[in-house]
């Protein structure tokens, strides 16, 4: 999937490059090179100022907005008469320049993301500047005539940008689902949800720049990109605090280990396994986060025990005791006041599938039950025999203790490793 997207991007750029070169050979150089240069700089700088959005998305909002504006710039008085080929070539070159410091210093850059954004910007440029829609030519020429109804021009741009963003989201989802081995539908839903925020800010900034160049010329570019910089800053802070939150829960989940209540690495292993199963079963990003936190904290109730359970394996404790520990853990988590969903998951992690039924026990609890049982049986081993023995033992409790759908997911997840 990733290779395909990169190939399409490279092909598109080569085509654009050829068209541009032919155009230049025919003597059609773009007028007003300073416009091209200004957007080149803006896109390159924007791509360099990358940001991690919540949910682990690598993005360059400023670069993307500048690229959208460059693709949508109206002809107005002939100072942006370049074609879609020029847009693609300039955006690609600027992106590469902007990303190169990151690549050289070895920092992670989402290459697939860069590739699919180039494709969608190219599509936008072609739709606006090259596809003829009437006798006057492409949209970029048609809207020139609407001098009295400038708001209609804005509406056309909004429509085009929305279309571009949808295409981009679809590509991003396909790539992400292939990478994370998660279901396309739930990934698409998550990506659409995330695009509503940052995406609309990027899109409207792009449109605003394109419209504002009419009265303000190139001044519009820095002036209107600056607020987006602050939006980006807000998102970075959001992503940072979320990362911090994750670290805190991860660390504090280990207090039971250091206090001698549970086996080393147990919580983190259960969380990893539970996450893989959650993705396999198509949980949404939000539900996955709750699942992860609940899995990390599933043994926190043991802190209230006077004496640690031998080896910390809750599977060995009596069912009543297990339920009591889960209840105590839920109480601890509920104290936070902000993790009620997580507390419920922790509370119901011991519920047996058959007795409580599917409706009353959240899927996340059923996942944790299986992941916890598997880790208690198998532990930190890669030994094949012990692993299959663990699976087998869980299989014995199928349809009575464990949800068969979740157990099937466990086998699938284990088969992937």
């Amino acid at each position: 999937m990733s290779a395909l997207v990169t190939a399409v991007a490279v092909l598109g750029v080569i085509t654009a490059l050829t068209t541009s070169v032919t155009a230049i050979q025919r003597g059609q150089t773009p007028h007003h090179l300073e416009v091209v240069a200004a957007f080149f700089v803006a896109i390159a700088v924007g791509e360099c100022l990358r940001v991690w959005l919540p949910g682990g998305r690598d993005a360059a909002p400023i670069g993307t907005a500048a690229a959208l504006a460059f693709a949508l710039l109206p002809h107005q008085g002939g100072w942006s008469t370049y074609g879609s080929g020029t847009v693609i070539v300039v955006v690609t070159a600027a992106t590469l320049v902007g990303v190169s410091p990151h690549l050289l210093s070895g920092r992670f850059v989402d290459r697939d993301g860069v590739a699919h954004r180039l494709i969608t910007t190219g599509v936008l440029a072609v739709l606006f500047r090259s596809v003829p829609v009437g006798p006057q030519g492409p949209l970029s020429a048609v809207v020139e005539a609407w001098t009295r109804n400038r708001w209609a021009v804005a509406l056309v741009m909004v429509g085009l940008v929305a279309l571009t963003m949808l295409l981009d989201t679809a590509l991003a989802s396909a790539l992400r689902s292939a990478r994370d081995r998660s279901r396309l539908r739930s990934v698409l839903r998550d990506e659409l949800r995330s695009i509503v925020g940052m995406g609309s800010a990027i899109g409207s900034t792009g449109i605003l720049i394109a419209l504002a160049t009419r009265p303000m010329h190139l001044v519009a570019l820095p002036v209107f990109l600056a607020p987006l910089m602050l939006t980006q800053f807000a998102f970075r802070r959001f992503a940072t605090v979320r990362e911090t939150y994750n670290q805190t829960i991860r660390s504090l989940s280990r207090v039971t280990e250091l206090g001698g209540y549970t086996e080393t690495g147990h919580s983190v292993r259960v969380a990893e396994l539970a996450l893989a199963m959650g993705r396999d079963l198509g949980l949404s990003e939000r539900d996955l986060r709750d699942l992860e936190y609940a899995a990390l904290l599933h043994d926190i109730g043991q802190l209230s025990l006077a004496e640690p359970i031998p080896g910390g394996a809750t599977l060995m404790a009596a069912p009543g005791e297990q339920r009591r520990i889960a209840g105590l853990g839920a109480e601890v988590v509920r104290q936070a006041g902000v993790l009620d969903a997580v507390a419920t998951i922790v509370e119901l992690q011991t519920a047996s599938y058959r007795r409580e039924g599917e409706d009353d026990v959240p899927l996340a609890s059923r996942i944790i039950k299986v992941a916890n049982a598997y880790d208690d049986l198998v532990g930190d081993t890669l030994e094949g025999g012990r692993r299959s023995a663990g699976l087998e033992r869980i299989g014995l409790g199928l349809a009575r203790e464990y949800d068969p759908r979740v157990v099937a997911s466990l086998s699938r997840v284990l088969a992937q490793v």
Binding site: L211, A212, S251
Partner: protein, 469 residues
């Protein structure tokens, strides 16, 4: 405006100085409004009406209260746009419109102050726009040079003046009401929101320029709103997540403390006392927040100490003491992956060091003990003495301070003991009332809680552990 509402809540009724201050601000607001209305009449009402509606809607949509360093109200932005489109009085009308619709359940004096401050701040913005050569009304969008000289630059300067005026008035009322030095308050306010305030002012420019210059009229407001709402949303998410994080840490610390009945709430109180000290010695906001976490987490390592040893009231054997003395190191191990803690790591590891070098785990002395650790050790001892233990009742604050003074130089850094004195003069300390009465105060026990400075000094039996960094 970011600080348009005074976030401090209610004014204390006793303070006459607050009343005088509010009256002066209100008087300036009234006089200023009359003068402005005479000199700068509003020429076009359409943008004024549209922008007022926007302001009202925006104010209604402000669902959650955000901490004031992250809130972003776009009223200031819309006011700046109104200033460019129709002049200072238009901006004043737009600014006042939400007040008519949103009569919150607040005391009269708070409302008067908020409205008066808003009026003064808007007038400051309008006047400085005029002074710096700004032009308003139709036809400002003919060329980019004109826009830059007569709209953009004056508007940015006006926005900065607006920000300063807002911070100055707000700091005035807060410092009078809460008796905190004015400088401290205004620096805090500007540091927490100044950049965002000036940054988002650009949106005001954008709105005005698009309205007239790009001839798309009221649609410009809609287009401008989108990024604005997203920014607010992101700030709101950040604030929410930040608060959630704090509460989660507190809940988990409480869970760890549950092991020992007598130390419940200890960590939170140590964190609080450390922050009080930090405020007096003037630690930056960032460091103070880190110190708070250090205080919260300084004792998590006690989880690794057997409950039996922690709760023992008699003399400790060498092994038992060694087990207790390991808790800072174990604590550090537990939280090591929480990267944001940074400087807090040293505070956690060294909070039982003594100035004379007879503490643990590393036996550091004097200024080689990290600052955070020196602060926390004072707060730790103070809370230990003012709360109930299994073998004694809580002492009162004066007694505890006397005890701290006695140990200055040997155990505690005088700077922070003095700072605690100062802090407690400003803020009253609530000594803990443990829920259960102490069932049996053990008489004649010579061994004390190890956080208590009166506890005899012990040499660590085990070899010292490696430190951080």
């Amino acid at each position: 405006m970011i600080w348009d509402d005074w976030m401090g809540g209610e004014l204390s009724i006793e303070s006459r100085r607050v009343h005088v201050f509010v009256s002066v601000v209100a008087l300036v607001a009234i006089v200023g409004t009359v003068v402005a209305a005479r000199n700068w009449p509003v020429q076009r009402w359409l943008p004024v009406l549209a922008l007022s509606a926007l302001c009202v809607i925006g104010d209604q949509w402000r669902v959650r209260r955000l901490p004031n360093d992250t809130d972003l109200s776009f009223n200031a932005i819309v006011q700046l746009a109104a200033l460019v489109l129709a002049g200072p009085v238009a901006a004043l009308v737009v600014a006042a419109s939400p007040a008519l619709f949103a009569l919150r359940n607040r005391r009269l004096i708070t409302q008067v102050f908020n409205v008066a401050m808003m009026a003064v701040v808007t007038l400051v913005a309008g006047t400085s726009y005029y002074v710096f050569g700004g032009a308003w009304g139709q036809g400002q969008g003919s060329s980019s040079t004109l826009i830059l000289l007569h709209v953009a630059v004056p508007l940015m300067l006006a926005n900065s003046a607006q920000c300063l005026a807002n911070a100055a008035l707000l700091a005035g009322v807060i410092s009078l009401d809460q008796k905190v030095p004015y400088r401290e308050v205004i620096v805090g306010i500007l540091r927490s929101g100044g950049v965002a305030y000036v940054g988002y002012g650009i949106f005001g420019l954008l709105l005005a320029v698009l309205w007239d210059g790009a001839e798309i009229g009221a649609l410009s407001a809609v287009l401008v709103l989108a990024p604005l709402f997203v920014a607010r949303w992101a700030f709101a998410q950040y604030a929410e997540e930040h608060a959630a994080h704090d509460r989660t840490v507190a809940a988990l610390v409480r869970a760890v403390e549950a092991k020992d009945f007598y130390t419940r709430g200890h960590s939170e109180r140590v964190a609080k006392a450390s922050v009080l000290i930090a405020r007096v010695v003037g630690l930056s906001q960032q460091r103070t927040s880190t110190l708070h976490f250090a205080g919260m987490l300084h004792d998590v390592g006690k989880l690794a100490v057997p409950t039996r040893v922690l709760q023992k009231t008699g003399a400790l054997s060498d092994e038992e003491f060694a087990a207790i003395a390991r808790h800072p190191v174990r604590g550090l191990e537990m939280v090591r992956e929480m990267e944001f803690l940074g400087e807090a790591f040293k505070g956690i590891l060294h909070h039982h060091e003594r100035l004379d070098g007879r503490g643990y785990p590393m036996g550091l002395s004097g200024t080689s003990i990290p600052e955070f650790a020196r602060i926390i050790s004072v707060a730790d001892a103070f809370d230990s003495m003012t709360s109930t233990r299994s073998y004694r009742q809580a002492r009162d604050v004066e007694q505890a301070l006397v005890e701290l003074d006695r140990c200055v130089g040997t155990q505690f850094d005088p700077t922070y003991v003095d700072a605690l004195h100062t802090a407690l003069e400003r803020t009253a300390w609530q000594p803990t009332t443990t829920v259960d009465p102490v069932a049996a105060v053990v008489e004649g026990v010579d061994e004390l809680d190890h956080d208590d400075p009166r506890a005899p000094i012990r040499r660590q039996v085990a070899t010292p552990h490696r430190g951080v960094g």
